[in-house]
Symmetry: none
Subunit: 286 residues, 2 copies
């Protein structure tokens, strides 16, 4: 625990009655306290602003503001217990910006915590060995497959990412042992995607799934299981965070792949970059 909170805990018995109440409140709600004003804290902790001000001086802070600052600095590494926020009617723009930012930051942080290094390593190795990579996903997930497709092309890996489910199954039937099929579906229950991955598996391909965390059909039938963070139930309108989490996983796989086989892959990556630049003469990136 942080040194400030430890100090408060240790000194607890030596404090006055109201100071003890305050101390307990701070220990129980440290995360919130740093965002509160002295008036709110007085109300919440059933004490008074005067007590709080004195309390801070007791612990040799310049005052309440100084205390909050130092505490906040100490708490930075602690996990936040915020929740994903859905879109609601008529929010002011600054609230929306804040909410979307929080959702995305959280999705990335949560997804990172869910990564299973064993599964990740298996995925990276399978991709490296694959002669051919198939990517399956419909709707929102097809955007993610397109993204991965673009990356794989740049390192010279043969791959396909058809947005059309029929083409996906058709492509799956052309795979063979040693090839890799990756299926992406947030729910893990999209029938088209499941069928495509099943077909790929029947052809002997190594199958990888990327779904929300927890048991689901797609994940259960696949050889290698990757996950992105799970949103609150019933989040439909503001479910954009799930896609960010999926892309985050894709980026991690890709980065690991390139880093591990750096000398083999980077020249190709570099060449593709130069070629595009040259072809579009004036342009740099896109």
């Amino acid at each position: 625990m942080s040194s400030i909170l430890t100090a408060i805990q240790e000194k607890h018995e030596g404090l006055n009655r109201q100071e003890q109440n305050l101390a307990r409140y701070i220990l129980d709600h440290s995360q919130q306290v740093v965002t509160m004003g002295i008036t709110d804290l007085a109300e919440q902790s059933q004490t008074s602003t005067a007590t709080i001000s004195r309390f801070c001086k007791t612990f040799h802070f310049q005052g309440f503001t100084d205390f909050k600052m130092k505490l906040s600095t100490e708490l930075v590494q602690m996990p936040s217990n915020a929740t994903y926020q859905d879109i609601v009617a008529g929010n002011p723009m600054d609230r929306i910006v804040q909410a979307v930012e929080a959702n995305h930051l959280r999705s990335i942080a949560d997804t990172t915590r869910l990564i299973d290094f064993k599964q990740l390593k298996l995925a990276v190795d399978a991709l490296h060995k694959a002669k051919q990579v198939d990517l399956y996903g419909v709707g929102t997930s097809s955007v993610v497959t397109q993204d991965f497709y673009q990356k794989l092309v740049r390192i010279g890996k043969r791959s396909t990412a058809f947005p059309d489910p029929h083409m996906q199954i058709t492509s799956a039937s052309a795979l063979s042992t040693g090839d890799v099929a990756i299926a992406i579906s947030y729910s893990g229950e999209t029938p088209e995607t499941i069928h495509s991955l099943q077909s790929a598996q029947e052809r002997g391909a190594t199958t990888i799934s990327l779904t929300k965390y927890g048991s689901n059909t797609l994940s259960n039938i696949s050889d290698i299981r990757l996950f992105s963070s799970t949103l609150e139930e019933g989040m439909r309108r503001g479910d954009m965070a799930s896609r960010i989490g999926q892309l985050h996983v894709i980026d991690i796989i890709f980065t690991c792949l390139v880093s591990e086989h750096f000398h083999e892959l980077v020249p190709t990556l570099e060449r593709s970059y130069q070629m595009v630049k040259q072809y579009t003469y004036k342009g740099r990136d896109n």
Copy 2:
């Protein structure tokens, strides 16, 4: 450097005279600033408390106190999220995961600080009024246009997002006054994308650009200018963060649009959700 200081640095040219003086002072004395009051800072930086207060809101902090708090937090945890990290050879997987996470978190934080609410509002209004929305982008950026396309379709907004530049220009020629064209290019110098947006503009459409922050051709020719955070120079292999920043902006626009016209748009959104669910019988999302 911290994401807040980076944002201040990036936006420097776009600020007013006194705001620039303030920005320079903060960049040069970041460590002291977090301990100063607004009056001291006004005096030291030769500006006024009003300018400082406004400055903090420009960067989407709640106010000066909030700014100090966030800055102080960042200055402490700097070493880990110091700069965007490129892919290097033979990094262990846990380092890679950390690095990718840091890049993505930073990209989202940086991009949020760069948002100009006036431009955002203009973009949201233009989209709401548009009969037809065209999306232009090639390569990596085409994935982002696909993503936005999917969202717009779900709220019943007519739009197109061809990955083929020829089709993009062709589509542009069918636009008219009141329609909207959005062009996405990280560098802002992709010729195909610039041409498409120019064509759209000639047809009388309202043009919106989404590029890296700073002056660039695409941004300069467009009516409404949106930006995502700028990566370190020469980041090619690990430039995945730019796409995350762009998607972040897209999500913010979309969320603002839906929130502002909630009762008009959410039924359509809800219906599209139900229809897909029903059609794919077993599936839920994708």
